[in-house]
Amino acid sequence: MHIMEGFLPSPWWEIWFIVSLPFIVIGLYQLNKLVQEKREALPLLAVAGAFVFVLSSLKLPSFNGSCSHPTGTGLGAILFGPCIAAVLGLIVLVFQAVFLAHGGLTTLGANVFSMGIAGPIVAYLVYKAGIRAGANTYATVFVAAALADLVTYVVTSIQLALAFPGTAGFLGAFSAFAAVFAVTQVPLAIIEGAVIMLVFKYIVQLKPEILTSLNLLPESTVQKLREAAA
């Protein structure tokens, strides 16, 4: 959920910039290190960023016919870790703001936090926990992507409720914003989970080297998944 340009008043947009800043700095540091170690990482990261942009600018089939779109950052977080996903999210959000007027420049901090940081961190943690616990890989990816989407929307509601508590107070405003967005966002989260899961499945079937070269899945698991699919 993008918060539009001009929607967040001072001091909230400044606060969200400050909150997002450390993640971006850590992400840039990690990125620098990664690129110095593996030169081929930069083009691949760029491709992943462009993929997130294109995915989020395509309309998903949605129940209520509204223009909903997936965030796509869950996949980035699973592939590269949450801090680098935050940098990718920042780049994608700047392009979306400047090309599509999705989101905005003053609300960039808030949007980076909800879509580029909170969602990806949840996706990453869920994915790691699921893999460690030996859960079904596809189910883990589904839960991670769907939760990332849900968390993004909850965080957006929190951001809006903090900025506009009204007379209902923070909790009242939060439930109002959350209720309005839940209509589109809950089905969307489930669809996004399914889509990312199927994308993951195609990658395992057609180009598993991507996953093993990034140390996301051990060779043996990929082998097992491919045999199960065959």
């Binding site: 959920m1 918060i3 539009m4 340009e5 001009g6 929607f7 001072s10 001091p11 840039l28 990125l31 620098n32 110095q36 030169r39 081929e40 930069l42 083009p43 691949l44 990261l45 760029a46 491709v47 960023g49 462009a50 993929f51 942009f53 294109v54 995915l55 600018s57 395509l58 998903l60 089939p61 509204s66 940098v87 780049i91 392009f95 400047v98 090309f99 599509l100 007027a101 999705h102 905005g104 420049l105 003053t106 809006l160 506009f164 009204g166 209902a168 009242g172 405003a173 109002a176 309005v180 967005f181 399914a194 889509v195 990312i196 899961m197 199927l198 994308v199 195609y202 990658i203 180009k207």
Partner: protein, 258 residues
């Protein structure tokens, strides 16, 4: 649509104006909109930015109107919530049967937000339609943004156009084969599209690594930037405009910093 936006950015009437100045005007207008306590200043920004886009940059009015309609849905949803949640002042309208009421305070805040969003949107489009991304990268470099970030942003930017083209082709061929007929099918088709797109992009990324290696890539991308000087007249006009907006903002209730 994206190609079209970028085409306009490359060919518009303000193409030869210094990109730094255009960015400065756009960003300052956005900041003035956000910090304005009354709806007058954002409306002024929206009007002047639209005038600049239509008259100076010569963007077709029809295309610009279509662009402005894009972000409407989110604005309507969130502003409706603000309208009902904020309650202060006289009750203007009550929804029968529900504990919902529009009050004067809520209506004022909603109006202010609507104008702020509108003014911000026009300023964003002013930047998007007059300044090509490549020139923004050049400015970022001069502002000493980390190189790795600019390189990544530039490569991402390049790939967006390639991918959109490819996604469009896959999508059209899926539609031709009735891939989006029913709900279940559309989820399946969309996943197939995303999966195929991801694998293809990854492969083109690998191809790019090879191509860059073959041309002695050493972890640094060099792009020549041409500096376009700021003309004194343009600078004066920009400052005059911004101070006028600032003046309107001040005269309609002071500046809200916090």
């Amino acid at each position: 649509m994206y190609e079209v936006l970028d085409d306009f950015a490359q060919t518009n009437g303000l193409r030869e104006t210094s990109p730094g100045l255009k960015l400065f005007v756009g960003l300052s207008s956005i900041l003035l909109c956000v910090s304005s306590p009354g709806p007058a200043a954002p409306l002024l920004v929206a009007a002047t930015m639209s005038a600049a886009i239509l008259a100076l940059a010569k963007i077709p009015a029809r295309f610009y109107a279509r662009l402005l309609l894009v972000p409407v849905s989110f604005a309507v949803m969130s502003i409706a919530v603000v309208l009902f949640v904020t309650g202060s002042g006289a009750v203007l309208l009550e929804v029968p049967g529900l504990p919902l009421a529009i009050t004067a305070g809520g209506a004022n805040l909603a109006l202010l937000l609507l104008t702020r969003v509108f003014g911000g949107m026009c300023s964003l489009y002013f930047i998007a339609l007059t300044t090509p991304m490549t020139e923004i990268f050049d400015i970022l470099r001069r502002l000493r943004v980390p190189t790795v970030f600019i390189d990544l942003a530039m490569l991402t930017y390049r790939f967006i156009f390639i991918l959109i083209e490819e996604a469009g082709q896959i999508y059209r061929s899926q539609v031709m084969r009735l891939g989006y007929g029913r709900f279940r099918e559309s989820v399946r088709s969309f996943s197939m599209l995303a999966g195929a797109l991801f694998i293809r992009t990854w492969e083109s990324g690998e191809a790019l690594v090879l191509a860059m290696d073959a041309r002695c890539y050493d972890g640094r991308l060099g792009f020549p930037g041409e500096a376009r000087p700021v003309s004194a007249l343009a600078l004066a006009a920009a400052l005059l405009y911004l101070s006028a907006v600032f003046g309107v903002s001040l005269s309609t209730g002071g500046l809200v910093i916090v």
